[in-house]
Amino acid sequence: MAVTENDVLEEIRDQLESIKVPGAREATPENTWSELDVDSLDLVELVKALEDRFGVTISDDDLKPIESVGAAIELTMRLVAAKEGTPA
């Protein structure tokens, strides 16, 4: 079944919840990491969760410009599409 943006958002919310970010379940694509008090160490855990769940590899370079939940969803969707050989 095709991965949807909502699947990625839910995975991000799950991970934010597991790292005890307050309000994790209410996180929206508009939220920035700084608003959520998510730092670089949290991001490493978040990236691993996304990689494991969606079978993609997110490089440090990919991650650098990602400053919000929405940007992380977009990046994941792009990598999933590339993996599956379909245009994003």
Partner: protein, 413 residues
């Protein structure tokens, strides 16, 4: 001749204790802890189950949420959680940071083994994953490193004075408090949050101490008793707020006592066995008395290192004889109730000494029944003892590596 002017603001100051914090198996909070000691409560369980087949004194009901957010707690090893809880109690009692100058507020929180559970867990994950780097948590280093507790406390207080960890195995907590005293005397800080913390009750650590033959087979902590056969592992933290006396009085802080003497030494003999003559321990005690400007005859109580190992208790007794020359005051071991807290032991025991001075009552040594001719002092075996005239008391700690430290405390007038 005119007296030399002080080189540092703290040089000729008395150093007050304005806050105390304790996390142990029998109680949290200084007063509750001392009450539990007087009630002869023991935190020791016979079998630690999945952790170890040996006895231990775990802090089973400990809740890190009392001093940390859930996110901070998740990012901290248990040893840091203990330290944060003890520091929160001590700093609340002292009213920190309040109007204390945070540029001159320091943190010295020691540990003997640091974040050992984190190390064990991550090591297993790494090897189980065929040494896959991705299996290792990005939180591993900040959780495992021995200065994490000191760092977290500084963050929570906004303390910008010096901060680091002190490590001398089982003498850590005592060294930390002593070095905090020195830090104030050198003028590097006005207030220091100092102590020791330990969460060494992990499967690997228990196995390691068992292999050394250091743990009691009977599972009983009975310091100075002829049947003693090793220590029982404990866990927890102790913390004090040390403060320049003049500043503490100026801001109207409650003073729980004064730290007046600190002495330290090396056995330079063996990594795990004390020097048979008690030379190192003797030197540390004498140095603490000299630092306090006190005679042995003024000391009314000694909180012993008293681990319940055959060697320590015999040689500590010998060292006390060396210093007191037949005139030793009563001696008791808190480890009989809460086990051996390794790097936290000295800090927790310092709190016991301060409470003893404040209340004029000595905590007992539990489980003492069969005298040993090599341990011939008064170990307060029958229960708490009234000591209304108690004004000066000492606390001993001796660490693996042959590192010794002793503190002297004076009652608040």
């Amino acid at each position: 001749m005119t007296p030399r002017a002080p080189a540092h603001p703290g040089e000729h100051c008395d150093i007050a204790i304005t806050g105390r914090g304790v996390v142990t198996s029998i109680a949290e909070g200084a007063d509750a802890f001392f009450d539990a000691l007087l009630e002869r409560r023991s935190g020791i369980v016979e079998d630690l189950g999945e952790v170890s087949g040996r006895a231990g004194a775990p802090c089973s009901g400990f809740d890190p949420a009392l001093a940390m957010t859930p996110k901070e707690a998740r990012r901290s090893d248990r040893y840091t959680q203990f330290a944060m809880a003890a520091a929160a109690q001590a700093t609340a009692e002292a009213g920190l940071p309040g109007d204390v100058d945070v540029e001159r507020l320091a943190v010295l929180m020691g540990t003997g083994v640091g974040g050992l559970m984190t190390l064990e867990t991550e090591c297993v994950k790494f090897h189980d994953a065929g040494r896959d780097v991705r299996a290792v948590s990005p939180l591993f280093v900040p959780m495992m490193m021995p200065n994490a507790a000191a760092g977290m406390i500084a963050i929570s207080l906004g303390a910008h004075g010096p901060g680091f960890s002190v490590s001398s195995a089982c003498a850590t907590g005592t060294h930390a408090i002593g070095e905090a005293k020195r830090m104030i005397e050198r003028g590097e800080a006005d207030v220091v949050v100092a102590g020791g913390t330990e969460a060494g009750m992990t499967p690997l650590c228990m196995a390691a101490f068992e292999r050394m033959g250091a743990l009691s087979r009977d599972g009983i902590s009975r310091p100075f008793d002829a049947r003693r056969d090793g220590f029982v592992m404990g866990e927890g933290a102790g913390c004090l707020v040390l403060e320049r006396g003049d500043l503490a009085r100026e801001r109207g802080a409650k003073i729980f006592g004064y730290v007046v003497g600190y002495g330290a030494s090396n056995d330079a003999f063996h990594m795990t066995q004390p020097d048979e003559t008690g030379r190192g321990a003797t030197k540390a005690m004498k140095a603490a008395l000299a630092d306090a400007g006190a005679d042995p005859g003024e000391v009314g109580y000694i909180n012993a290192h008293g681990t319940s190992t055959p060697f320590n208790d015999k040689i500590e007794t010998r060292a006390i004889h060396n210093v007191f020359n037949g005139g030793s005051p009563p001696v008791s071991s808190t480890k009989s109730a809460i086990g051996h807290l390794l790097g936290a032991a000295g800090a927790v025991e310092a709190v016991a000494v301060l409470c003893a001075l404040q209340r004029g009552i000595l905590p007992p040594t539990l489980n003492f029944g069969e005298p040993d001719p090599d341990c011939d002092l008064d170990y307060v075996p029958d229960g708490p003892r009234e000591a209304p005239g108690l004004k000066l008391a000492m606390s001993n700690s001796f660490g693996f590596g042959g590192q010794n430290a002793c503190l002297a405390f004076r009652k608040a007038s």
